[in-house]
Symmetry: C2
Subunit: 159 residues, 2 copies
Amino acid sequence: MAEDLLGWTEIDTGTCSVARAVEILGDRWTVLVLREVFNGVRRFGDIQTHIGVSRSVLAQRLATLKEQGVLERRPYQEPGDRVRHEYRLTPLGRGLQPVLVALNNFGDQFLSGPDGPPVLLRHADCGALVSAALVCADDHRVGPREIRLELGPGARPRA
Amino acid sequence: MAEDLLGWTEIDTGTCSVARAVEILGDRWTVLVLREVFNGVRRFGDIQTHIGVSRSVLAQRLATLKEQGVLERRPYQEPGDRVRHEYRLTPLGRGLQPVLVALNNFGDQFLSGPDGPPVLLRHADCGALVSAALVCADDHRVGPREIRLELGPGARPRA
DNA sequence: CAGTATCCCAAGCGATACTG
DNA sequence: CAGTATCGCTTGGGATACTG
């Protein structure tokens, strides 16, 4: 993700992780649906009215996310109420949290109106604001220009 | 982004930062274009052949990204060659790096084939792998469940 | 090379009506 | 409530041809 092209242009980008991730998150509605579920809105009707999408589209997105293993549909029951269903994140779905947080950060920093961000994400422990930061496995903070691209084992030359 | 709904369901989500960010990154092609530019592929033709998109679509996406202030088109000249144009990230565009890295991480972790990821992001300084991690402004690492949602100054009730 | 213009087909979408 | 089915409309997208 930096100034680099050591063969990057010669590999098949269809197998790239970003491309694969985008096949899940590829459209606006899907991202918004996931935001709702991350924020605790889990019922069909609640999601629908909150993001203002048509029922058919929501049903289709939820079905796809279920097929992909991002969400699961499970029955639950509040005392004295009839059985309902809710959508929960699977471990795969939870893996998307940094993406959602990074999107939220970006919007906060660059796209907020004069009043500032509408939603704040706070660290439950200390109350400080949360962001998705670049770090390395040796626990250093990584600056924007400090990323070196390297081909991995799954790289395939393109036809 | 955690178990929470302290009024979240009552605010207008159209102004949410995630929604605003998705208006820029909302479709597959745009994300792939940005990946190319982050990876140093900056010329129209190179981007086009590398991601396999039609010229009309690429032109439209680049125009939109330029309008939105994510990319800028600038002339440059290699010695002995004629003038060319290239697309560069603006500061706004660079702000999207954590999103791209988070998408890449997600694909690596959850969607890679048996051979592992096709591309590795390394910290230029130490060579360790880079990821987009949740941290707070007080520099703590933040666990997936340790985020508390709070309404910010820009929150608007929904109609 | 880096686009723009046109054509035409496929997909996405909301509105509405229907179902368990 | 939580969907599915159908209907048109609008948009997206590749292919092709054209332009500076």
